[in-house]
Each structure stands twice: as structure tokens, then as C-alpha cells.
């Protein structure tokens, strides 16, 4: 049956991008201190390939739904995601190769090609869309960064940086404020404001630990503004960088084999 059960699965091919987006925003090549800090935060998470297990929880005042995914990524253009929980969706696989997205549906034993417009759906109650994520991570010099000072966030001393998009940049945000740890350059918090200056989303990171040979914040909360008790939590259960994953791993025939 092809009636879409929920929006969530359609967004899975882009989850690895969200994690990237959360942990660092790509900075420009300016040589001021703020850009340097942003770049160092970004470099922390950089790896040619990654294999991770991630739990994503949608929390609402009256209910919670969890999903566990195994993700394989190569650069920004190749990703493969396998749902391992809940039982209802277990075995479902999403493959993204650049702009093409496929979905393996185990109950009908078929690979279904998804239309690219599914990329512009909003992301589970947040105002973030897959398109934003893709564009965001493509743009190298769309923001100017200003160091506002130092501030504690999540019990860690952080640089507080304001990033404002350049006038010509096609960015949906009016500004983004980042908190990046002084010691390890880990992004601990980010606030996203719309063009009228209203807070839209807050991203909060915690659970700093060593994963895949790097010290990272392994848990991220997305809190939409003005929606009390609503949040989305992403947590890395495992993470490994630079595993040997060739382009041939990211093929429709491999969707049926991954475990």
C-alpha cells in the first residue's frame, strides 16, 4: 500500500545532513576570529565517510515516538539509511545519490523512486526543510560572523557568535546565534531567527563524549519556539568515521542487502 503513513520516513535520507547542520554551520573564508571558530567547529565533524546509529525521538506533551536508524554516508551527496526500529518500519531503506532518492519497501519488496519535491517538506514540526539543509551545507560564504563574547552554555564555556546572511544569499534565516565551546570547538547551542527577528528554533547539544575517535556532542535537541513541550531529539548511539565505503555501496541493489 503506497498511501504515505507519515511524513517522517520521507525525511530520513536527509537526517545525516541535519546532524551536520546542527553541529556546525559552514563559514566563509574571512580571517577574523569568529569565522575561524566556526571553521574549527566544522572541521571537528568532517570525515569522508561515516557509519552511525542514531535514535530520533519526537516528543510532544502527550506522546513520544522513537525511531532508530543506521546511516552510511559518503561526502555530502551519498547517504543510505536503514530503519531498525520500530518493528512496523524495520527494514525500510532510503538511498540518496545527489538529487535522486529511492525507498526500499520490504513488505512489497520493491525500490520506489521518490519525487525530489519531498525534499522541501518541513521537518517534523520545525520550520526547517530538507531543502534548507541541502542548500545550507552547500553555501560556503553566505554568512558574516561576529564574535559577541563568551558565555556559558550546557555547563561549558563558549564563544558566542552571531552569523548574519549576506544580502545576496538565498538563506531563509534572518540570523543565527551559535555557542561554540572554547576548549573543543563543539557547537553547544544555536538559535535560528527569521527575517523579522523572531526566534524560530533552538538547537541544544549535550552528552559530550568520544565517538569515532572524536570528541563530539552526541545528543541534540530541536526546540521549536512558542510550542511548549514539543521537541525532537537526535542521539548518536554509535559513530565511526572514514570507514571504507565506495560509491558502489550507495546503489539500489545494495539497499536490499544492508543490515
Amino acid at each position: 500500500m503506497f498511501a504515505r503513513k507519515s511524513k517522517l520516513p520521507l525525511l530520513i535520507p536527509f537526517l545525516p545532513l541535519l546532524a551536520v547542520f546542527l553541529l556546525f554551520v559552514k563559514g566563509g573564508a574571512q580571517d577574523n576570529d569568529a569565522s575561524d571558530i566556526i571553521r574549527k567547529a566544522e572541521d571537528r565533524m568532517r570525515g569522508k565517510t561515516s557509519i552511525s546509529t542514531m535514535r530520533i525521538s519526537i516528543v510532544r506533551p502527550k506522546w513520544t515516538r522513537d525511531m532508530v536508524l543506521k546511516n552510511w554516508t559518503r561526502g555530502e551527496n551519498y547517504s543510505l539509511s536503514l530503519i531498525t526500529e520500530p518493528a512496523r518500519d524495520k527494514g525500510t531503506v532510503f538511498l540518496r545519490r545527489d538529487k535522486e532518492v529511492w525507498n526500499w519497501v520490504p513488505s512489497v519488496e520493491r525500490v520506489i523512486k521518490l519525487p525530489p519535491s519531498m525534499m522541501s517538506q518541513s521537518w517534523m514540526g520545525t520550520d526547517l526543510t530538507n531543502d534548507d539543509l541541502v542548500k545550507q551545507s552547500d553555501m560556503k560564504s553566505d554568512f558574516t560572523h561576529t564574535l559577541l563574547g563568551k558565555e556559558m552554555s550546557g555547563g561549558v564555556n563558549c564563544y558566542k557568535i552571531r552569523s548574519v546572511p549576506r544580502e545576496e544569499a538565498a538563506v531563509v534565516w534572518g540570523k543565527i546565534v551559535h555557542w561554540i565551546s572554547v576548549e573543543d570547538y563543539i557547537q553547544m547551542k544555536a538559535e535560528f531567527y527569521d527575517e523579522d527577528g523572531y526566534l524560530v528554533n533552538t538547537f541544544v547539544a549535550d552528552k559530550i563524549q568520544m565517538m569515532g575517535g572524536k570528541k563530539i556532542a552526541s545528543r541534540l535537541e530541536i526546540l521549536p519556539a512558542e510550542k511548549n513541550g514539543h521537541k525532537t531529539i537526535l542521539e548518536y548511539l554509535s559513530l565511526e568515521f572514514d570507514a571504507p565505503l565506495s560509491e558502489d555501496f550507495f546503489t539500489t541493489q545494495n539497499m536490499k542487502r544492508v543490515k
Binding site: R110, K113, T129, Q253
Partner: protein, 392 residues
Amino acid sequence: MVVRPLFVAIWLFFVSLLADAQSEPKNLTLRGYVKDLRILSFSEDSSGNSRSLQQNFIHNRLNLRYAPSQHWEGALELRNRFFYGEFLKYYPPGASYGSFLEPDPGMLDMNWSWIDNSNLVAHTAIDRMWVNWSNEKWDLRLGRQRVNWGQNLVWNPNDLFNVLNFADFDYEERPGMDGIRVQRYLSGSSAIEAVWQFNREPTERSAALRYRFNFKSYDIQLLGGRYRQNWSLGTGWAGNLKGSGLKGELTAFIPDNDSLKEQFLASVSWDYSFRKGTYVHTSFLYNSRGLGDIARLSQLSGSSGGQLDVQTLMPNSWSVFGQVSHSFHPLLSTSLAAIWAVDLGGIFIMPQIGYSLRQDLDLSLVGQGIIIDDNGVQNLGSALFLRLKWSF
């Protein structure tokens, strides 16, 4: 008869793996679901009196997989259904509901109604039983399996072996076919595939080849071979047109028996997803051998058992499908789908609501109705389905 021993060998493979299961539990997985389905169907008899009938059944599926090594995997999947309710009493002894369910379309009879009386019918069918061997380049599967060659989401003229029935929403797995499939991967996105389908009836046997590749972000396939008493030739694709999806399938059937007619089937579909999550999908089907038989429209209904094959996707020539779905709430999904049989003046409507009660517990309410405009609008029959599904 070489085939029967082969199936027995597969069966033995499973028996032995079950015996072995305790020593290597991580290679063995058991999954499935239990569904409670209540169907209330309404119809009008010839004198215009309406009558309703309630059917109830519990539907359990078990998917057992065993992968002893990287190269080998086996599957045994079955469904158990337990029917109860007043509708069983309408089947006379000797032509009971259980006997209506029994025929197995495959090589080996793996369909049993093991309780069959006017209060309860218990039925078990094994619809997958295969052994698979694969490496980097090859993939071989022997046994009862599903071979799904469709590209569209509703009508699949390319799907020679296990055609989908959109209306039969409670059995998306579909019955398997008995045979052999060999796949040879040529590159990351291209492959050649050969399938032989066995059957007790020589006129029901099929064998076909498929070649698929990716060209400029279009998945394209070419296929041909024997389909029952026909030669068949077809092509299909799945690609993108700006933000939307564009898929299509064409197949021609040329019989080698003068009593049969040539047939050409073509289906094209388009889908698009809006930013706020509304999904729209439309599809067209042309069938050169449309019979114009209004009564056969009722084959679409999910409650009729809905056994379609690729040559009987629709009984008529020109059909249009439309669907809009939207998620108003993260736990709630809604969809409205309709099939318009243009040359029959008939419409099949299927609204659906799904709600996630708990993590693995889903409730759905589905309606199906067929209306025709034959000197005044007439209701050919309608049904309501209430389903509770627990997945494990």
C-alpha cells in the same frame, strides 16, 4: 518432475535451520504482525433492497529469515487467517468459505483451510519459501518468491509475475510465484535479470528477461519473454520532472494462439509533494483489450479477494487514478484515492484514515465504494474496513 524435490529441499533447509536456531540466534529473525480486521459491506439486490454483511478476521503474518553466512539466506513467510461471523453461514456445506480460499496458484500446494465450519475458518498459506545465494556480482533465488518489476505505484503493466492490487490494502505482500530468479549486476545501477516461473499448468508458465540501468537520473528497464501463452515486450522508467516524479510502463502481449488477442498496456504516473506535506499522485492506464464489463469493476474491491494478473489490471480501456494525502498531525494520516473507469462511467473511491495509537499499534479506517452512472447513479457496492495492527 524435478521441481517438487527442489521445494522439498527448501523445506528441509528450513527444518534444519530451525533445529540449528538455538546455536546461532542472531542469524535468525522472526518478525510479523497481527491484525484484527472488521469489514462491513453494503450492497443492493435486484429489487433495490439494501443489505449489509459483516466479516471479521484475525490476520497474522510470520516472516522467518535465516542468514547463516554472508552469501546464503533463506526465507519462510506465511499468513494465518481466522475468519468468524455471520457471513460464514451464507456458504453452504460442500462450498464452504474455507474451500473457496484453498486453491493454491503455485507449483506446490501450500494453502490449507484447517478448520472449516460455519462458525470458524482457519486458513494458512505459505507465500514465501526461498533460498538465496549472492555475491558481489550474482544473486540467485530459488523457491516461492515475489518478483516485483513495477515502476508505477498503482498500475504495473511491467509486473509480469506478482502484480499489485491497489485496493487490496490488507495484503501488500501479495502471493509469491514459484520459480527461479538470477540477477547479474553489471555496475552500480545496471543489472540483467532472468526469471522462470513454474506452474502445474503449462499454459500458466512464464519466463522473462529484464535489463535495467540509470540514464540522466532516470531508472530505465527493458523486458521481454514468455508470459503464459504470449510473447511479451515492454519498457518502464522512473524519473524526475523538476520537483515531481514521472514514471511509466508499457507492455505488449502477442499471443501464439489464434484464439487469443494481442494486448497493449500503457500506464504513466506523476506525483508531487508540497512543502506542507500534501502529496498528490495521478496515474493513467490504457488497456487495448478493455472489455467494458461493468460487473468486473467489483474485482477492485479489497473484500473480493482481488486476484489480479498483469493482463487484467482493469476490465476496461481507459482509466484515471487520483490521490491526495495529507498528514494533519504527526500521528494521523489521511488519504483519498479514486479510480475513474472513463469508458464505463464508473468510479471506485477509497478514503483512508490511519492513526498511530502506540509505537507499534496502528488503527486504520478504510472505505471503498463503486458508483456507476448507468441511467442514474447506482451504487455497485461499498464496504468499510476497520483494522487494528500490531507489528513485531
